[in-house]
Point group: C3
Chain length 139, copies 3
Amino acid sequence: MRQVHDRLAIETRGQGLTEITGPLQAWLGGQKVSNGLLTLYLRHTSASLLIQENADPDVQRDLEAFLAKLVPEDPALYRHTAEGPDDMPAHIKAALTQTHLGIPLQDGRLALGTWQGVYLFEHRHAAHRREIALHLIGA
Amino acid sequence: MRQVHDRLAIETRGQGLTEITGPLQAWLGGQKVSNGLLTLYLRHTSASLLIQENADPDVQRDLEAFLAKLVPEDPALYRHTAEGPDDMPAHIKAALTQTHLGIPLQDGRLALGTWQGVYLFEHRHAAHRREIALHLIGA
Amino acid sequence: MRQVHDRLAIETRGQGLTEITGPLQAWLGGQKVSNGLLTLYLRHTSASLLIQENADPDVQRDLEAFLAKLVPEDPALYRHTAEGPDDMPAHIKAALTQTHLGIPLQDGRLALGTWQGVYLFEHRHAAHRREIALHLIGA
């Protein structure tokens, strides 16, 4: 049994989903573990991690539109407004989605379903550099 | 330290919660690991995993009703409508709940609280065969 | 490779967030594992676990206010009312946040970002004693 720790930096282009399945598979290809558990932990509270459909891009747009309506970027609704009108909604959206994901790794492949992709979900309007702590344990 | 990979198939009967605590405990009984960590990873994006109360069935009905109202099955609200009026709401409900769960296993029993059950939450109206990737690590 | 199982009891003071980063770090300091994966599993369905910003207390108040408005404590909305008007909303809030968290541990420190804290989120009005099952695996 072995374990590996690493950090993966992702540049987002502002609000929306960035697929990271490719970078994750590339990273896994360089490890000496082909069966085990991969944990992704996002070191931020105004973005999140998400498993979503990777086929129709409209799914991502609908999800973003739903959350934009559910958590309006209206400063009148929040006390925490010093970091901009999109910051408190970003924290709430992060609380409603995921800060960490655990995905089994089998024979060198993540156990993703046919239509699943792994996404970093940026909730701020500005582009950000986001850091994911990776932990892999297995053999 | 050992690890086990497997797949658990669950037949849902359409929208709603299906308890899977029993099948999980049965599966665990056949493994040579009694202390460790069980990870469940659902290989779909229109259903999800959930820990919920297993005592009063009204809790499940209230949760379903709340989500039905929060995420209406109204095609006018979404771009992604080709797979039916319940598909995009299913993706959103999945994003708001969980695709994976990690539960400690101690002395052969999951660390569930007295009133907790593990559920597969089907968000589509039609019955589906859903697949959960299982990963168990421990001793 | 080693693993540790334990239980952490947290006394909440009623509805709201209780930071548990300190107790977790203290617990970790007593273990003979400095690199690995920590899993927190909450043994209740009317409270939850959350990673949130630990800088501005207004973030926590805004998050609580958002959820209070999203999931009203109005018995007319729910069937499950026997345990009080705050019980069913508590189950729903728990379903929308997290029952478990997985956080990598590196060189004896959790991989938390600069502004992140680990919180127990109490959804009931009364103070409760909540129990978290801890699992640590690593070296």
